[in-house]
Amino acid sequence: MKQGPGLTLKLMLVLGFLFLYAPIVILVIYSFNDSKLVSVWGGWSLRWYGELFQNEQLLDAIWVSLMVAAAASTIATVLGTMAGFALARVPRFFGRTLFTGMVLAPLVMPEVITGLSLLLTFIAIGIDRGFMTLIIAHATFSMCYVAVVVQARLAGFDRSVEEAAADLGARPATAFARITLPLILPGILAGWLLSFTLSLDDLIIASFTTGPGATTLPMKIFSAVRLGVTPEINAVATILIGLVATGTLVWSIALKRAMARRAQPT
């Protein structure tokens, strides 16, 4: 469609994006509110950020979340990349249909079911719940996302470059390391980033699979938020939003630069 949007459509777009972004903007603004009451504007202040950094429990939860996210997303990236390879490159193996189903099903599985089933499994095996179980749980659902991303990357991949490498005498391992890996690396990195965000964000599966000593940030936020709005949580939320915004910006700039570099003839 070529012609530009009419006035009504432009208005719809503005309203639509207002709907998507206004809640986030309001949240950020209110995190700088000096008043303890959410309804009263008490002037700009960094008070809640100060209190946040003295709240040991909250800081602990942030630490737990970051550690779990780092470990889980790394495991998920390794397993997910393997699974993506299997799906994209191996047309036939024993139980491929089951395998495909198991990779795709967690994407649509309600989190309450995933959480419940993992918890019951951990109890059945007799593993103590805590960091380990949390990491296993997060790695399991994240790896499916990684697999889908990597598979998509491999599907749109020109295999002739790999063949050329083989023709030029590269061994399979060398061809993989020098040709395939660099080409699918953006997909793998995107998968890692996605896993990290998913793990950092997960409340339900974490509530089921965690144990004493491993309370994550979303669990902490959820129990505080159930009692209503607190300015401190607004401050945490703002920091998280800021981190994501910067991360996404840096990521997209880096990607654009890398693509521009590749486009240039060397």
Partner: protein, 293 residues
């Protein structure tokens, strides 16, 4: 098949068998057992293959019968389906004009606008839902603004309410609706609209008879992508809804953590999955045919 290739398949395969399929079978098994006070709070259904064979003839549907007898469970199932369906329809009406608008923008704008649609995805889901409490509560931003303009003198009770749950679901899953809609609308051939205009169709008629039918695949994909996660939603009804908006996810959660009735919670999980299997299968069939997703 080389060794490296075998390991590439085997490792994720075994992981998924151990932490996805086996857990689900365990839930299935526990859902057929009776609640016991002992730790763990369920009676083992079978301990050996012998017992298993014996058991198959005397499998207990006790938990499932209970679910259908107690109106609490039936109601929360119906609530889930109703709330998810209504939210999906609202999301369609909100998302369609946005997707349509983006598709009609110049290529330079499209990329930026699509990025803006996806960006909120990367920020915490929990925080985005939480943000609405501050807006919808009686002392919240929205009521403050409405009273300031003079539209109401009394604050409107919007939180907690079923309306708040709809807003939360539409807000959280709107990108799922917009993206597939955009994908079909973007491919739409403008000459078809020109042809209908030449044949005398007014813009609205042309939209109804040309654009809408052609965007049906996007409408279906988007609707399923909103409906499926909305049915099992836990956080949104828990934070924004009241007791009348109890959805099945919350019922499962409280059955497990508060009542500690694991077999019943497992039965709820199995039934929830059964409810979702039909839309999921339809969606996957459709996605495969379209070659998308």
């Amino acid at each position: 098949m080389g060794w490296s290739r075998r390991i590439t398949i085997l490792l994720p395969y075994l992981w998924l068998l151990a932490f996805f399929l086996a857990p689900f079978l365990i839930v299935l098994k526990i859902s057929f057992s009776e609640a016991a006070i002992a730790q763990p709070p369920y009676t083992p259904v079978w301990d050996s293959i012998d017992a298993a064979i014996q058991h198959l003839s005397t499998i207990e549907f006790y938990n499932y019968e209970f679910l259908f007898e107690d109106p609490l469970y039936v109601n929360s199932y119906l609530n889930s389906l109703r709330i998810a369906a209504v939210s999906t329809i609202i999301a369609l009406f909100v998302g369609y004009p946005i997707a349509y608008g983006i598709a009609r923008c110049g290529t330079a704008w499209r990329g930026a606008l699509l990025a803006l649609v996806i960006l909120p995805f990367w920020t915490s889901f929990l925080i985005r839902v939480y943000a609405w409490i501050g807006i919808l509560s009686t002392e919240g931003v929205l009521n403050g603004a409405l009273q300031w303009i003079g539209l109401t003198s009394e604050p409107i009770p919007l939180y907690p309410s079923e309306i708040a749950v709809y807003i939360g679901i539409v807000y959280s899953y709107l990108p799922f609706m917009i993206l597939p809609l955009y994908a079909t609308l973007e491919k739409l051939d403008p000459s078809l609209l020109e042809a209908s205009a030449d044949l005398g169709a007014r813009p609205f008629t042309a939209f109804l008879r040309v654009t809408l039918p052609l965007s049906l695949p996007g409408i279906l994909a988007g609707s399923f992508l909103v409906f499926i996660p909305a049915v099992g939603e836990f956080v949104i009804p828990e934070l924004l809804g009241g007791s009348s908006t109890q959805m099945i996810g919350s019922t499962l959660y409280s059955e497990f953590f508060q009542n500690r009735d694991w077999p019943l919670a497992s039965a709820v999980a199995v039934l929830l999955l059964l409810v979702l299997v039909v839309p999921i299968v339809i969606f996957q069939r459709y996605a495969r045919r379209e070659g998308a997703v």
